[in-house]
Symmetry: D2
Subunit: 383 residues, 4 copies
């Protein structure tokens, strides 16, 4: 069992300030665990909730001193700026409508930003954020979680190296069942904001999980969506936002693709799956079996690649901590994104090709916007 | 281990005459094995190929006497009619363009017909055949193979009994890889006719496997396609017919569905999969694991139903020959269709609900026709 | 989709007489379907039960004329001998205690025999049968079902060709759950005789399924068991025969193996699995997923071989009827054994290496005998 | 998606000192990540290697100040004792021969200990350590990793609640392939010490992974091994310690079990699997698919329990951080053990039932010792 990766950093830990992630949040603690996993980052400050009291309540659970816990993102930014040991960057884990204000404020005050997806609540906001990122020149990254998995990196390397030949068909699906009942009506906090246009933005399932499916297609294949024809539905009738999406795609002007995203797929957990078919071979990755990648070549037995092995590409090996057969999961994938972001913050350079940034953010929101338009008009649209 | 089903018949064997299935055919021998498996049917005559010589060559391999082997379907029908021991029905296993002439001739001379799918080479032909079937009042069945699997019967029973609640989303995919290379250019007989409009008819992959996917959706759910928006492609450029299809469906006017059928899905075998999501539960059946059916209900562990068990519905049990853990496969599924058809021939009654007939045939060809139109116009169409 | 194998025979069908397989039998109908599947054999006579009346009742279900149905194996043999169209061979599908008398009588009157396993009810009987087989020189085969699967043939070829290097460890398990409740007390016919020493012989689970596991190890690896240390249990206390077995093996004097066979493994179906680990590679076959074989080589992705593909060895391809992705099951595997046996009967030659015969029969009963002795004395024993 | 567990602690972080885990170690970084994952523990000191220089080199990678890094466990203990902010406990992650000296020294100086398994290098040492633990009354825990998985906790709860009825058969296997080649001869550090009796102790595979398999059986079922009959082998001949083990067990004086542990199972990763068969039901857990547990009951479809769901027992839910479908892996399982240990250190109470301690340590070493004796004498032995 060879030790994988170098998970330790000789230099001082980066200091992170978090926005969002207060009581009832699901993703805040995941960001904290992921950021700190490899020992290179430490959560030291936060504006976890919309009142100081609740923010401090959360801060104590995170083990923070009260004087590093704030009532708002703006308050945190201003206070931290004047400290001798300020935060090095801001992590934004709020509902979508607060992504732009938080990121904009942080960037404009000189703090790099790492944000949960989608980038913003609308395409217009994403374009505004793009301007801010470009004008400040500061690092801005998006935690498209699934890009952090070793086997997704392997899949990407295979596509880029031409191991599949020219790509001919792409299938991506992201199926969840947790909204198959109207849980938002009975106080389910996560469901509450995700189905509320005022907080989620223009997209329901399309914005919450559709963007993941969209992004992983482009991330892995290197192709770009050029046309789409979408069918978005609110299967549970009262809902203001979609909870189910089926979308025909055209990639790079010619290659057919299909994207499915649904949160009413009763009984499903978190079923993201990507299948790419090329002239010479194909690949198949399923999130719920994240440490394997199936690769098929015409006329040969199917191959099952396993994480933690020596035959993987360097791209995959360097985001692996454990030897073969020792499962890594979502927190580790998330941590890989934080590690790469931390490296950028330290080095001050550009985002590596493997780290999603504002370009992915804008494309994702354009995808949401175009899908909604296509579904409304029941037409194919240019991307 | 309880003995499953009653695979034996006390009465005389029905005599079958086959059209098609000569040298190089794949499906002819499957029909023969399936028809004879349970001992109720015997292949006694055939017009296996387009010349008498090749037909007799095949006939000898099937173990038939030369005087029961013919040069054409018509010759067989006329000769058999005047025998004291004539065939009881005709099985049609030719390329698609010969389905209508064979079936029409047989029916018009008083012979029941069982035919491989699709019903015909075009919608117009299917409507003509429908008239013939209706006017003769004779049994006509289509070997939609997958309807013969016990776990598909189980799936159907679950849907019909309301075990899933109202159905909200249907996903069906049928992925093959055998046409990912242009094998039709190097003498591959199966590929040759299936990609030739003169023999396959108007549909390529859509007619060859798309109709299976379409039919199983309606068979299992009891719902009907009412609108569709299709993207049909000839991924290998020279091809005159489609080899890849992605189709958005609307079922019963409201329920979203997605149908994928591709023969350029490199490395796939014969990957038919049906997923149905309802208000209360969901089911998932994959052809390559045919003896299990996954059923999920909200808030409960997933259930894996196994063929050959006592907890299955009678519909499933009566088409099972072996106890749990003893795999049955495609030949047995096929045999179930023949068994049910044989019962109809003997009893002279109507087709049972479980046996696809001309209605499925016409709907299948309408599906092919509408999909082609939708893809050409890039529009949603009413079914 | 390439047509696999040549499932048709130009010559006349062989005539089969069956012993056993009457009302309530599970395996009789399987033998009939398997024998007839490829069109080379026809069931024409039988002594299905111990009274003429019940035998004829079964005969009618099998579609036989009353004058070819007999009250005993001996009656059948004598009557058929004097017919102009006598049976070509005898198939024995009775409970174990009737295997020797039936096979001996048939062979001594000049009829080749194919018998269900185990060969006999005791080692002594097996040795006696071996003498008869040797003295008559007639074909005698055992339906060790699992040897008929294409992927078992593939596994065997890989071992024999040295693809795994020298073999270092063998694991075989055969787990069923159908005797986890005392069903024999409530009239379960199959359970009744299999747990009755007067009919099953000396072995319970060890004789019923343990011999399958034992035989497949030697069949695939080409190695021989040389020592064993067994723990046989009657987990349900009143039982006179074992229902659960765990056995340490030594193969070829040095290689460790483990054999598990249990019929009280609650919830299991028919879980035969063979794993072979060699110096260079390993293989893993599971009966409930019979059309795939997993092969692993050090430092490479695991490979999943699929039945019906062109990359398989000739040994596997010639026992395959359908293209990749079209499942074949137990009846087809069984049919492969009958087809090979039929070829021997026609040609009159020796059994091919792939067809289990009396040698496997004797070794199987020696395995049962030694396991019982080892378990009683709680000691390692030479085989 | 409901937020699972409370991964945050309001009180100050516990301070951990680590022994071992220096350059080339695999498990040291895992302990660090696991200990710190939930924010309740911080690595602040260490004696990572046998020279100060190499220890400090490692310490810098762990982000520690040089003055908290020591040349030996004893040096760390003495220095930390006199600090105002001393470590709260010692984590021992060295090769086996240093487990006893490290644990003994720490305990005798008043520091609780958490140690990697096996407890010691021999049974005699384990008994000595047991005395020390008992006389000091301090917390001592063993990181039997797999006990930390939610689905193992679920399995345990099902057994304890009687959901399976009385247990009748237990199968455990732990198959790895990484020692199928003599990598210890070419400088593989992990292989080097694990196959060296001076550092690994009396057991090879039996001590490295066999003890995991042994412990999980008793942990989940609540039964105790009472007899065993072992076959231990050094499949690669020059090796001084076993690399392959097959062991028949008797549990609670009557129940048959089988334990397999091998490190020469070519191509296997880290294949721990536990199957428990009871009168009413059975369970099946596989480490490489850690977030599911298969449960079977007679006469019902198999059930697949998923981690992160609400239908799990509290025992499972409280060690889960993520909602269903979001994989957790080995680091999270490990972290659950550290979290429970941290709670004990803080509370000063006894180990909870779910946390393996010295009793498991002694039983594990007795298992190693008895297995070696049994294999040498080729006899069944009382435990």
């Amino acid at each position: 069992m060879v030790r994988k990766g170098n998970t330790l950093k000789a230099s001082r830990r980066l200091r992170m300030g978090m926005v969002g992630g207060g009581p009832g949040a699901f993703i805040g603690p995941v960001h904290r665990m992921a950021a700190e996993l490899d020992g290179g980052i430490e959560l030291v400050a936060g504006a976890f909730s919309s009142t100081l009291e609740r923010s401090q309540e959360a801060g104590r659970l995170y083990g923070l001193a009260d004087d590093r816990v704030y009532a708002s993102c703006e308050a945190m930014i201003l206070a931290e700026k004047s400290r001798p040991d300020p935060i090095d960057f801001v992590s934004i884990v709020t509902p979508n409508h607060l992504h732009l204000p938080g990121a904009r404020a942080a960037l404009q005050h000189g703090f790099p930003v790492i944000s949960d997806k989608p980038a913003t609540a609308s395409l217009q906001e994403a374009l505004e954020l793009e301007s801010v990122v470009q004008s400040t020149g500061l690092p801005y990254a998006l935690t498209y979680t699934y890009t952090g998995y070793p086997m997704v990196r392997q899949a990407r390397a295979l596509c880029r190296e031409g191991a599949l030949g020219s790509i001919r068909k792409v299938l991506v699906e992201y199926l969840q069942g947790w909204l198959s009942e109207p849980v938002e009506l009975s106080g389910h906090k996560q469901a509450g904001w995700r189905l509320d246009p005022a907080r989620a933005g223009i997209g329901g399932a399309i914005g919450d999980i559709g963007v993941h499916a969209f992004q992983i297609v482009e991330f892995v294949t290197g192709m770009q969506t050029t046309q789409l024809c979408a069918s978005l539905n609110s299967v549970i009738p009262h809902r203001q936002l979609d909870d189910d999406c089926s979308i025909l795609l055209t990639l790079d002007g010619a290659v057919p693709g299909v994207l499915l995203a649904s949160q009413i797929a009763t009984g499903e957990g978190n079923g993201l799956r990507l299948r790419v078919y090329g002239e010479k071979g194909a690949l198949d990755w399923q999130h719920e079996l994240p440490n394997q990648l199936i690769v098929r070549h015409t006329g040969q037995p199917a191959q099952v690649y396993s994480a933690g092995t020596d035959y993987l590409t360097v791209d995959a090996q360097k985001v692996t901590r454990l030897p073969v057969g020792h499962p890594e999961g979502l927190i580790e994938a998330f941590a890989n994104i934080y590690r790469e972001f931390g490296d950028v913050v330290k080095s001050g350079g550009a985002l590596p090709d493997s780290l999603p940034g504002i370009r992915d953010g804008v494309r994702g929101m354009r995808f949401v916007q175009r899908s909604i338009e296509s579904s409304r008009t029941r037409q194919w649209l240019a991307f």
